[in-house]
Symmetry: C2
Subunit: 210 residues, 2 copies
């Protein structure tokens, strides 16, 4: 006879990391207390230290779970783009960056806003939190900067740098505002995501090239 076991409670470690993502997104690192966290997650305070070691290590785990699939998909699209014969256009490069960000987050519709806010907040946290988050995206960031530099050889590296930084800022803002009354991204169906991607690429590409 086969045993069928149905787990009625979410795995503790996963439950902690999930609630932590939301609280870090809403209140920041310093504004999030472990007691609020364990209270909302329905787990014991000691479980946080048992599973993650410290509050800062918990943040590292949240960032890693969040960033790795995203970076992986960004790099795959970029690789695919560079496999062609010709130098990819700025529009194509920006699309490779923006599309997975809008799509992968939209897969988890209920958590779209939370995950977007979390990503946005990571950029404005004080050290060392900011660097922990930036480290997870460092590989992808460098890859996009390099290909943009090759696509725009007449622009200085510092120009590429600050412009790409503004592209990221706009992307994060679109994600953070998703679903709100006048936001660019209204719904999570593939047609709206496709439209938002195209409009955002169109909004950013001319500035990137001029």
């Amino acid at each position: 006879m086969q045993k069928i076991v149905v787990s009625l409670t979410t795995d503790t470690k996963e439950q902690i990391i999930s609630v932590a993502e939301r609280l870090f997104a809403e209140r920041g690192f310093a504004g999030t207390t472990l007691r609020n966290l364990v209270s909302e997650a329905g787990v014991n305070l000691a479980a946080v230290h048992y599973h993650f070691g410290s509050k800062e290590d918990l943040f590292r785990s949240v960032v890693a779970r969040f960033a790795r699939p995203l970076v992986e998909q960004e790099l795959a699209l970029l690789e695919q783009l560079q496999a062609g014969q010709e130098m990819p256009s700025v529009e194509a490069i920006l699309t490779a960056l923006i599309k997975p960000n809008l799509e992968i987050l939209a897969q988890d519709k209920d958590n779209l806003l939370v995950r977007a806010q979390f990503m946005g907040r990571c950029q404005t946290e004080p050290e060392p939190i900011k660097s922990i988050a930036a480290g997870e995206f460092a590989v992808s960031t460098k890859a996009f900067l390099d290909v943009l530099q090759r696509a725009l050889p007449e622009q200085s590296r510092s120009q590429i740098n600050w412009k790409f930084d503004l592209v990221i800022a706009a992307l994060i803002r679109v994600l953070a505002e998703a679903g709100q009354p006048f936001a660019l991204l209204q719904n999570t169906n593939s047609q709206d995501i496709q439209n938002a991607t195209e409009r955002l690429v169109k909004f950013l590409s001319p500035g990137m090239q001029c």
Copy 2:
């Protein structure tokens, strides 16, 4: 005979509000402790509560001192722009928004970067801190949306809204990153500020119009 009194120490209240602006900028509201504040400001802990009442009220004072001259100048430039015969260009409107944000901060040259970071951080603070800051800028936001709508009558209001939202996101990002290694705004001299203003307007204007 006339008495001449030379104050050797900075006024306590002003000293507190000045150091508070820097710490809030660097570490956020939750990340700033009053004990760090009084230590760096060289004042007594009780002086903070005596002069400001509470930590949150101190934040209100910092925001008010920061935002009011800025909003005043934004509205003055916008008024001046609309006084002319012709409809102002998108470049001119965006310049009226961006220029005072970069320039008025430069009046206090030693604190330019600090004040820029502070403004950037205000937008990403959790409630109720974010709303306290946003409330100070609400009037100017509506004024800019209205004039942009008149300058771009072929675009829907929702388009104007999300595009202007991205303009603010970019401006905030420039301010928040001011002084950092690869930021658009590096130094505090008027030439760098002028250059940064022009480049940012050029970066954003085409996307606003397309």
